[in-house]
């Protein structure tokens, strides 16, 4: 039963020690779906508690990083009765291939789901080189 539960719980990220962050908040790895369309790749990441202002998507050469920060909700006068999840920030890093055009990446956040549309680069046209006869 415990193993089944683990699958649905958030996975704590395994950041190496060198990458410590300034905030001492827990970091989670968001679950993603990646699928390929004819002319784009679509990435969907589950990041509940994140909106378009608190999400950060950066592309550095071929490394795509998605980050989300979450402000924990504080309910005054309420005591914790039962918990199954903890709140924290999200981070996940991907390496993307040259297939993707880095200038045409669109991101939108709706209801805690980040949707990235990575358009594929147009195929490099094969140039025919004319050979002159000398």
């Amino acid at each position: 039963m415990e193993e089944e539960k683990k699958e649905f719980q958030k996975q704590v990220s395994q950041t190496p020690v060198e990458q410590e962050r300034t905030r001492s908040r827990k970091t989670y790895v968001p679950r993603v779906d990646i699928y390929e369309k004819k002319d784009a790749m679509v990435l969907l990441a589950d990041m509940p508690g994140v909106d378009e202002k608190s999400v950060d998507v950066t592309l550095d050469k071929n490394v795509l990083t998605i980050r989300g920060t979450v402000e924990p909700k504080v309910c005054k006068d309420h005591s914790v009765y039962y918990t199954e999840y903890d709140m924290g920030d999200y981070e996940r890093v991907f390496t993307i291939t040259n297939e993707i055009d880095p200038n045409r990446i669109e991101a939108q956040v709706k209801n805690g789901v980040l949707r990235l549309t990575l358009s594929k680069a147009e195929e490099v046209k094969v140039k025919k080189i004319a050979v002159k006869v000398s």
Partner: protein, 147 residues
């Protein structure tokens, strides 16, 4: 902020096992219909005060119009479905870690709630339900007469 598995109970009986017992029974009822089987989804947190209880659940991508929250005395049932992408021909998944589809979860609350005054909000993928305590279930102070 909250450690995992932190709880405290005030009554004599253990309300945690009550909730889990009810959940297991409901899960058994629905087992084999293709829903999340035997696993409590979504994960919930319950915050308690004297006058109300707040239940929060992380459910990103919830289809707002298909969410159903119903209350009977002290039992809360949340059901709904998460949006799942429908791929067209020629499209394929490289990775699929998110789960979509129907879910139902039933909780036993620590007191009877006033179903008319329940508020539910869905924001940034987090569903939070505020359930005020029913008047008849509030503890009544009894004055002690002294001679």
């Amino acid at each position: 902020m909250y450690g995992p598995r932190v709880w405290r109970w005030g009554g004599i009986s253990d309300p945690l096992s009550e909730m889990q017992r009810l959940q297991r029974e409901v899960n058994r009822l629905f087992a084999g219909t293709g829903r999340y089987q035997g696993v409590d989804y979504p994960a919930i947190n319950v915050l308690l005060s004297e006058d109300d209880v707040i239940v929060t659940a992380e459910v990103p991508g919830l289809e707002a119009d298909k969410t159903d929250i119903s209350i009977t005395r002290d039992v809360l049932t949340i059901s709904g479905s998460r949006e799942s992408e429908i791929l067209k021909e020629g499209e394929s998944y490289h990775r699929q870690e998110r789960t979509g589809g129907q879910f139902t979860r039933t909780l036993q609350l620590p007191f009877i709630v006033d179903s008319g005054k329940v508020e539910a909000r869905y924001e940034k993928g987090i569903l939070s339900i505020k359930l005020p305590r029913a008047e008849e279930d509030k503890p009544k102070k009894i004055a002690v007469k002294t001679e």
